[in-house]
Amino acid sequence: MTTFLQYTLSGLAIGGIYALVALGFHIMWSAAKAVNFAHGDTLMIGAVLAVLGVDAGLPVWLACLLSVLAGGVFGVLLERFAVRPFLGGATSIGWMLTTIAVGIMIESLATMQFGGFSRPLPSPGVAKAVHIFGAGVYPQELLIPVVAILAMLGLRALQKRTLVGRAMQAVAHDKRAAALMGIDVNRIVAFSFGLAALFGAAGGVLVAPVVQASATMGALIGLKGFAVAIIGGITSAPGVVLAGLAFGIMEKFVEGYISTAAREIIGFSMMILVLLVFPQGLFGKREVLKV
C-alpha cells in the first residue's frame, strides 16, 4: 500500500510536468498546426536560467520569475524566426528541422554556460519531505500536478472569458475565417507560442528542485510531452493533462517493478498503439478529411 501510494504520488509529480509540456504542445498545435519540436529545451531554459539566477545572487522567487519570462520570450522569437517562415508549406519538414536546429544550438549554448553536469535548484519545497500514509514526498512534488491542473483551468478561462482567448479559438478553428473577421492571425500564433513557452519554462522551474537542472534535461521530457499530447488528443486540453498525469504514474510503476529501459519501451509503445487505434488521441476531436 505504501509503495503503491509512493509510486502514485511521485508519478503525479513527473506526470504534472508532462502535462504542462503537453499543454504547451496543445496550445501551439491549435494555433498553427505546427509545434516547437524542441519544446523540451524551453523547459531546460527555465530550469537552467533559474539556477544561474540564484548563482548570480537573485532571490529564488525572482530568479524563477525571470527565467519563466525569458522562456516566454524565447517562444515568441522562435515562432517568428524558425516556425513562421515555414508555415503553409506542403510538408512539415521545414519547421520540424528548424526548431530541432534551434534546440541543438540552445542545448550546446547551455552546456557551455552551465557545464556538462546537473545541479539542483534550491527551493523551500524540497526542504523537508512530508509523509502521507508512510509514503514520503516533497511538498514541491505535490505542488506540480496542482499547477498543471490550474494551468489547464486558467487556459480554459482565458479561452472562454477573454478576447484574446476567443481569438485563439477562432484561429484554431479556421485561420482564414479568423483573418477575415479582423483577427491578426500572426499575433495570435506568436502569443500562443509565447504562452506555450511560459508553461514549458514554468515546468522547468517546478521540476528543477526535484530532478536537478542540466543542459540535456529537456530532450526526453519534451519527447514524452509530445507523446502525452498525442495520447490525450492534441486538440483537447483536459485530455492532455489527464494523459500526462496517467503517463507519469504508469512510468513510476514500470520503473519500480521492471527498469528504466522498460519504462521507455512501454511508454513509447503505448503511444504508437494509441495512435493506431485512436489517430485523434483518446480525447481529441476527429478532423474530417474533405475531398
Binding site: A82, I93, I100, I104, S108, S269, I272, P279
Partner: protein, 598 residues
Amino acid sequence: MRHLTLLGFLALAAILAAVPVTASNEYELRLFMLFMIYGVIAVGLNTLVGLTGLVSLGQAGLFALGSYTGAILATRAGFDMISASIAAAVVAGLFGVLLAYPTVRVRGVYLAVVTIAFGIIVENVAIEWQSLTGGTTGITSIPSPNAFGVRLSGYAFYGVLAVTLFLATLGTHNLKTSRYGRAMLAVSQSETAARALGIDATGMRTLAFVVAAVTAGLAGTFYAFLNAYISPDIFTFSDSVRFLLMVILGGAATTFGPVLGAYLLTYLPEFLQQFALWQKFAYGALLLIVMFALPRGILGTAGQFLKRLRPPARGVDTAGAIPAEESLKPNARAQDAELVARDLTVRFGGLTALSKASLRVKGGEVHALIGPNGAGKSTFVNTISGFYRPAEGDCELDGVMLTGKKSHEIARIGLSRTFQNTELFGDMSVLENVIVGCQQRLSYSIVDAVLRTPRMRRQEAEARRVAIGLLAFVGLEDYANDEARFLPFGLQRRLEIARALAARPRLLLLDEPAAGLTTQEIDDLEAMIRRIAALGISVLLIEHHVDLIMAVADTVTVLDYGQVIASDSPAVVQDDPRVIEAYFGTPLDLSEKAEAVA
C-alpha cells in the same frame, strides 16, 4: 539532364575507385568507408523523404537493428559478413513494413514522432535485452570482415562497400525514374488524385519505407564489421537527425544529393573540431542555414539553376505518338460501361447528404447530374469513386460491385474522375502528370524497375507515346514540359481530363469541369466531351452550366436535398415543375419549404 546523370555515375565510380589508391593513411581510408556506409543509408532514406515526402526521424533505430542483427548472427551463429548483412536487411525490411503501417492513419509530424519513438524503443530494447545484446556494454569481438569463409583485406572490404554504395545509388535512381518512383511522387503531391488514378498509396508508402529500412539494415551490418564493436549509445536521436539532414542538405529527390550530403556530414565533424566547444552549436547553425538558404539542398538548387539557364523546350514532338483514338480503343468487350447506383444514403453526423439516391448511366451516354448548391452532387461523386462510404445502398459498374472497394481499386475497374478543385501533381511536368495516369497500363515489376530491363524500357516508351497522344487530344502538346502548377486555370482542367483518360476509363466522371472557364473554353469543353463519348466512354457530368448540359447530355438527373427529383432527357427535365421549384422556388411553396426547414 540524362547525360548529366550518366556523367554523375561515371564520376562516382571514378572517385570510389581512386580514393583507396590516393589515401595516405589508414585513418583516412576508414573515414571514407564510414562515409560510404552513411551514403547507403542516405540514398535509401531519400526514397522515403524525397519521393513520398514522409519524414523518418527513426533511421538510427533501423540502423541499430541492422547492426545488432548482423553482429549477433556473426558472433553467435558464425555468419559471414555477406550473409549476415543480407539477414539484417531482411529483418530491417520487415520492421520497415511495420513502421509504414501507421501511415495508413497518420502523416506529417505524427509520423515523425512515431519514428522517433521507434528509435527510442530500439535503443532501450538493446539496453534491456542483455542476454542477447550485451546490454549497455554492447557487443564486442565482432570478427573482422569475411566472406564465404575468407577473411577480407581492408581493400576488399572497401570494395564491398564501394560496390554497395554504387549499386544502391543506381538502384534507387532507377526506382525513382520508374512507375514506382512516379507513383510515390504523385502520392506525396496529391494523394487524392493518385488514388483516383488507381495508385495504391499505402502500398507505395510501404515500399518506400522498406527501401529505406533495407538500406539502413545493410549499412548497419557493415558498420558493425567496420567498428568491431557496437553499443546502444551509438544509435541516438541525433544520428537520426543527421541522416535526415544528409538527404536534405544534398538535395531530396535528387540522385546524387544524398551521397553528397553523407560525404559532407561525415567530414564535417572533422572540420568542426577546430571550433572545440562550439562544435555542436555550429552543427545546429548549419542545419538552420540549410533550411533557410538551401531548402532544396545543394544539388536540388543547382538543378533548378541549370533548368533556368537552359530551359527545356516547352512543347513536345507529337511524331510517333499513339493517338487517343487508338490508345483509348475499348479492348474487345461486349458492351459500353453501365453504372448503376441504388439507394445511396450518406450521412455526416446528423446531416443526411444523400438520401436513397439512385441513378443509372447507360452505356456510352453522356449523363448529367445537376442540382442546386448543397444538393449532394459532390457527395455522390465521392461516394461512387470510393472516397466516402455509403451508410446504405450500393453501386456497380457493369455488374462489378464498387461499394466497399477502395478508391484505387475502383479506378482500376474502369472509373476515372476529375476534381472540382483541380488536383494536379503541381511539381511534375504536364507530360509526367499524364504518364502517372498511364500507371495501369504498365505491368513491369519492381525488379524490372531497379534493373531497368528491356521490358521496363519498352513499356515506359509506350506509356510516353500514349501520354503525348492524349496531350494532343486535349490540345496541350505545346505545354508538355511546363510544370503543371504554372498552367493557366483553363488548361489545368484540360490536363486533368487528359490524365483521367490516360487511366483508360470506361466511365469518366467530370466534377464541375466548366467551373471558372470562359465561354470560349466551355465551347471547347463541349466539343471535347462529345469526342470522348464518341470513343465509347460513358460520361457522368456534374455541372451547373445549363447551356453545356442541354447541349451534350443524353440524360439529366436532378438532385435536391440529397434526393433524386427527376431523371429524363434534357428537354423533359427542363420543364419539370419540381426542378423549376428546386432552382427558383414558387411563391406558394417557398413558405411551405420555410416551414419544413424550420
